[in-house]
Subunit: 328 residues, 2 copies
């Protein structure tokens, strides 16, 4: 087996985030489940945007955030995801490319617009997401760049990819190629509701194809339909390493022969939790790619998560290699 | 004279900001003058964007920021400025409308794209701006909504409007209509280089048509080609009230019979000075519109400026009426 040329390649829904403040009453009035992610169609996206306050636009997408975070830490990275050739698609491509990420996926010339996620941040800094998948749903197995996958030490997949039908196939194809080349496969469960939509598939997937699992407590509980402590033995028997985030309570790292509790890194003020899990994964994967001990992977993950929740949006504002250096 | 229906109407270049971090060496390599605003064409805008790091998109424009700030404080407001019917134009319209601002100006269907400003924020939190005026330069006297101007207690004009040729005429027309209706006219000098481009015109304008003048020290010095202290008597003879910002040193308010020094409001961390002057003007104009004493106008202005420099971009992140209430 060759030494990997790049550290991590991510596959995900290529999405531009549109972020605004909202009160809890706004969520209620629009029937939103706080903290969750709801899939919406284009008409609903337009109606919600019309009702939304002044907003900020920036690139997002779960795996996109993770890969941009890895690049900002100094990792070599690639990304596979579908945008359209439109203004939002150009923004997505610019941001990921200028972060130093290889992004070979061609933009769609026809069909639905680039995906967007309308994110409402409530005064408690929680984000509630409404995603119009648009062009990102066109990602297909043909978009999976075999050489890129083979060249990467870790292939990172977001659970949200299970929503668009072709993407799921792309997802499985990538996992097979990666394992065929002796590489590792990482999966983020993304969202409790996403886990509930695909519970049995995710369980099979975790057992058969996943080496590193990222999830929060409630996603693990949803996956195994039991509390975290009872689920842990099953998690550990299914995957090599699981990193389970617990918000302000830090995270739990579970491996075959090790279990670690990691404290959350302190933050002056939590502004917006968008991307917290994505950037936790970025820090953790960076540690793994550099062969660090699990405790150090967890420490890095807590730091990169702390940076992202101290401002709007799920892409780092401060170069993360510098952020981590200053706080180490 | 009727009581004004709305507090302030602003006229300005309708611009979407694209903001990214950059090192000082990036500015040097691209021949940028730190802290200034340079006009660029579309080709240069594309080349700079390609060289720019991952970015954040949000509505901007000097008067646009001021008016959005006023709306966030609870003032009734209007805005006149030109966008194109494209994705950035839709973002601009959404943001200003959803802030509660009347925005009657029709979008251009043809011609150049919506204006954008590429803003590079250096580690010292200073912003350096590169503006492609695009559709905003198409603003003409015909876009000046007479009724809106007459209905507003104060018409607020940004100095940058002197750059596009038709906008200058729109600017003068608005000032005449406002004064004809017994209303007040406010002007922001915008930028030292802008003042140098139109020095004699600005001097005539200030003397003939301006009641409230907003500027920073270096703009006042550029306008009168002398130091601030020597310029002050001329400023005071030209306008009713001048509010002169001095960065971390606060501001100076000069009126015929009063001179006040106002302290800057404390900020945990200065992140990005984009919009500092614009939001200072918002707080000050809000005080004037509510008939407050000058010291109180200055205090409000310092607070709203403090909010805007504590995050990226020139539009408020926190509802300003709440921000001011909490800190009062």
């Amino acid at each position: 087996m060759q030494t990997p040329e790049i550290d991590v390649v991510g596959i995900g829904n290529a999405i531009v985030d549109i972020i605004a403040h909202a009160d809890d009453s706004f969520l209620t009035a629009h029937g939103m489940q706080k903290g969750g992610m709801t899939l919406i169609d284009e008409a609903k996206a337009e109606a919600l945007y019309a009702a939304m306050g002044p907003a900020v636009q920036l690139s997002g997408g779960s795996a996109g955030n993770t890969i941009a975070g890895l690049a900002s830490l100094g990792a070599s990275t690639g990304y596979i995801g579908k945008v359209k050739e439109d203004a939002l698609g150009q923004i997505f491509r610019h941001d990921i490319s200028s972060a130093g990420v290889r992004f070979p996926t061609e933009a769609a010339r026809e069909g639905p617009a680039t995906a967007r996620c309308l994110i409402f941040v409530t005064p408690d800094a929680q984000r509630t997401m409404n995603t119009f998948l648009g062009a990102s749903a066109l990602l297909s197995p043909a978009d999976v760049d075999d050489d890129l996958i083979r060249s990467a030490g870790i292939t990172y997949l977001e659970g949200y990819l299970y929503d668009p039908p072709y993407a799921k196939a792309a997802f499985h194809r990538a996992a097979e190629i990666a394992h065929g080349a002796g590489r590792k496969v990482a999966l983020s469960l993304s969202d409790r509701f996403c886990v509930e939509r695909y519970r049995s598939e995710f369980r099979n997937l975790a057992e058969l194809h996943v080496d590193y699992l990222f999830a929060n407590e409630s996603e693990i509980e949803a996956l195994f339909e039991t509390d975290l402590e009872s689920a842990l033995p099953r998690v550990v028997s299914a995957v090599e390493i699981a990193a389970i985030t617990r918000g302000a309570n830090g995270s739990l790292i579970a491996a075959k022969s090790e279990r670690l509790d990691i404290a959350a890194a302190p933050v002056e003020r939590v502004v917006d939790t968008t991307g917290a899990g994505d950037l936790y994964a970025a820090g953790f994967l960076f540690g793994l790619a550099r062969g660090r001990a699990l405790a150090e992977c967890g420490r890095l993950a807590s730091l990169t998560a702390a940076e992202i929740i101290s401002h709007y949006g799920g892409r780092p504002e401060t170069p993360l290699n510098e952020y981590v250096r200053v706080r180490s």
